[in-house]
């Protein structure tokens, strides 16, 4: 039963991955011509301050976006699952960011974060150059990332919440458990398998971030080095500079990084993910 999926992945994804790994040990000339050059790409990479900065930016971005994003998405999912009026309307609205034109999203957020006339500064009564200050640019990017991921994550979590039978809550109510207690003793354990997959997926996505930073921070923005993620660096090396070998080494490193974090998550899940219902 797993055959179609596995065969598909081998052809569609693992073949390109193997190519990438081979490339990462090669010095590439243009268009496929290449020669083996051992670990040189990796040595260059590990000696590059730009690379370490990008690694740190990527990890920071993950830390800034994943916990907050998941908690908010869970909250939204719970509220959208509760007895509220206009539930359909609310659900449609929270879904909107997923299908909005990327150009619209970029325009709106760049306008909101604008240092001179942005609405965020107006509301907070401060004057911060969100997108051009090295300290705040990554925070601004993280906010947009959280905003765009809430809808996706809430859809997944909502499906988990829907699977919880009402009878559990009724029993709990008879026992006199309050809402908070119900959340921790019923909702959280019951939704933990879905929560776990959502968490893993979101974490992986955030470590692979590229589009969003490309959209929010122009090439002419002096803060670029302070927000540049690993995949952004990959894009510049592979598609702008044409250094496929070096770029492939960045990809291999990124996959290893995600792999390490994932393994930690899988070990950690035993503590909180509840499969025996």
């Amino acid at each position: 039963m797993v055959a179609p999926t596995i065969i598909g992945l081998l052809v569609l994804n693992y073949y390109p991955l193997i190519q990438t790994i081979i490339l990462s040990f090669s010095k590439t000339k243009t268009f496929g011509a290449m020669e083996f050059n051992g670990l040189n790409n990796y040595i260059d990479m590990f000696q590059s301050p730009e690379f370490w900065k990008a690694t740190w930016n990527t990890i920071l971005f993950c830390i800034l976006t994943v916990p907050v994003g998941i908690i908010l998405a869970l909250l939204v999912a719970i509220l959208l699952n509760a007895k509220v009026k206009f539930k359909g309307g609310f659900r449609a609205i929270y879904f909107l960011p997923m299908v909005c034109a990327p150009a619209a999203i970029a325009m709106v957020w760049r306008w909101m974060f604008n240092g001179e006339y942005g609405i965020i500064n107006a509301i907070l009564g401060v004057k911060i150059n969100w997108l051009t200050n090295p300290q705040t640019a990554i925070i601004a990017c993280a906010i947009v990332a959280i905003w765009s991921s809430i809808g996706y994550d809430a859809v997944l979590l909502l499906s988990g919440l829907q699977g919880i039978s009402k009878s559990y809550y009724e029993a709990a109510r008879i026992d006199g458990a309050g809402r908070i207690k119900q959340f921790f003793s019923i909702t959280l354990p019951m939704i933990s398998p879905t929560l776990f997959v959502t968490l893993i997926m979101r974490m992986m996505a955030s470590l692979k971030v590229y589009d969003l930073i490309y959209m929010m921070v122009d090439q002419s923005n002096p803060v670029l080095p302070d927000v540049q993620s690993l995949m952004y660096l990959f894009y510049r090396e592979a598609f702008v500079a044409g250094n496929k070998g070096y770029a492939s080494a960045i990809v291999v490193w990124t996959i290893l990084l995600i792999g390490i974090v994932t393994v930690v998550q899988f070990i950690g899940q035993k503590k909180w993910v509840n499969y025996d219902v």
Partner: protein, 427 residues
């Protein structure tokens, strides 16, 4: 086992279903009289369609389909297509990429395309923009451009400053900016971090260079280059020029057409579009030649960067008569005249510039676009060498660090010089 079979069957059925809708594509290109032409700029679609139609009129057996992709995806697509010999029949080539494609043998050599002297009607700059590193031509020149000074007439009037003309120098630029700022509170000349539309012009006006003539060394260590860079980057220290963080959020063109600033450098390729789409600004702005350097280290202080695109085809089409004939026609005076008349880009063929100028007659206020044409007399080829993809964004990073105050101009430029020289050494 049974289930696996069932699943495999399903997979196969789905695949079959879709493959039936797949058209059998690309037998030998053009053998059925259909050619594809791939471009990246939607605003030139009309002009390209006109060329396709005109050629079809002459050769009714051949139909050309114009296909547009967005800039970023264009190059990914081209790279993928080049690897699998699936390139569009005719496609635009940009100077950023031509050496990459030409030097690795992807493009057909069009040096001997013409029996007559057609190429002698193109300027040296135009020819150079379509050459590979070996000096052979790998694309038929499509267009050429210059960088010009765009200014807001109303702001000049309010400040009582006379309009820029061919005698203007850097000093006049600074002077006028200050006066306009004092009189109107608006920005003067908006000098932002950009190579082609920014510092390259100043460097070459001052007699400096980014790459030496035989492209073996960088010029960021030349006093003329350093002085010009200091002048240009230093402009942002003036109260009348926004700093780079402003430009990171606001495109200078948008600022100009919203009445925030009085001057900026613009490429000729945008002028028609700006006339069309800012109807309320018509008559309130105009173009002039770039101000010259008052005391250049060498030369007469004049320069403007000129870039140009080309029409190319894959090397495996070298003997494909249908493709090559269309390509050949695109370089003729007739085709270049049609191309120019759409006003989006100035054709490379000398003598067809007037058609581009005339395209501006459609507006009530006629821009002084002749100024853009005049600058071809002293235009400099857009800086390029085979290693530029390797150094372009790294140099940009260093210059941004200078703007951001993390590096002094001297340190930053020294880094730029090292980056380029190392890239050249690595080949």
């Amino acid at each position: 086992m049974k289930h696996i079979k069932r699943a495999a069957l399903l997979l196969a059925t789905v695949a079959m279903l879709f493959s039936m809708t797949a058209c059998s594509n690309n037998p030998a290109s053009g053998s059925d009289g259909k050619l594809t032409m791939q471009i990246w700029d939607n605003s030139q679609r009309e002009a390209m369609q006109a060329l396709a139609d005109a050629y079809h009129e002459i050769n009714p057996d051949v139909t050309i389909e114009v296909q547009v992709t967005s800039w970023d995806e264009y190059w990914t697509k081209l790279e993928a297509a080049a690897g699998s010999k699936n390139l569009p029949d005719i496609f635009w080539m940009h100077t950023n990429y031509i050496l990459l494609y030409a030097d690795s043998g992807m493009l057909a050599d069009v040096t001997d395309l013409y029996d007559d002297d057609t190429y002698s009607h193109y300027s040296d700059v135009s020819i150079a923009n379509t050459q590979g590193s070996d000096g052979r031509m790998y694309a038929v020149p499509k267009d050429k451009d210059t960088v010009c000074l765009v200014y807001n007439k109303e702001m000049f009037d309010q400040a009582g400053v006379s309009y820029p003309d061919e005698n203007w120098t850097w000093d006049d630029l600074v002077d006028a900016s200050q006066k306009i700022y004092d009189a109107t509170g608006k920005y003067g000349y908006m000098a932002y971090c950009d190579e082609q539309l920014g510092y390259w012009n100043f460097v070459y006006q001052n007699g400096g260079y980014i790459l030496n003539d035989d492209k073996t060394a960088a010029g960021f260590d030349q006093p003329a280059t350093i002085d010009a860079m200091k002048f240009y980057i230093g402009l942002q220290d003036n109260e009348w020029c926004p700093d780079q963080t402003y430009f990171a959020e606001t495109a200078p063109g948008n600022a100009f057409f919203s009445g925030q600033g009085a001057m900026f450098f613009e490429g000729t390729w945008n002028l028609l579009y700006e006339m069309k789409n800012y109807p309320e600004m018509q008559g309130k702005w105009d173009v002039a030649v770039l101000p010259k350097c008052p005391n250049p280290v060498s030369g007469d202080g004049r320069a403007t960067i000129s870039n140009g695109l080309g029409y190319a085809t894959a090397s495996y089409n070298q003997d494909n008569e249908t493709v090559m004939d269309f390509l050949k026609w695109l370089g003729t005076e007739e085709a270049q005249q049609i191309h120019s008349s759409y006003g989006a880009a100035i054709s490379g063929y000398e003598g067809t510039e007037q058609a581009w100028v005339d395209a501006f007659d459609q507006f009530d206020y006629r821009l002084n676009v002749e100024a853009c044409i005049d600058m071809f007399d002293y235009s400099v080829q857009s800086v390029n060498d085979a290693t530029r993809p390797n150094w372009k964004s790294k140099v940009n990073d260093e210059i941004l660090k200078i703007y951001g105050g993390q590096l002094s101009v001297d340190e930053g430029l020294a880094n730029c010089n090292t980056i380029i020289n190392e890239a050249i050494a690595e080949g």
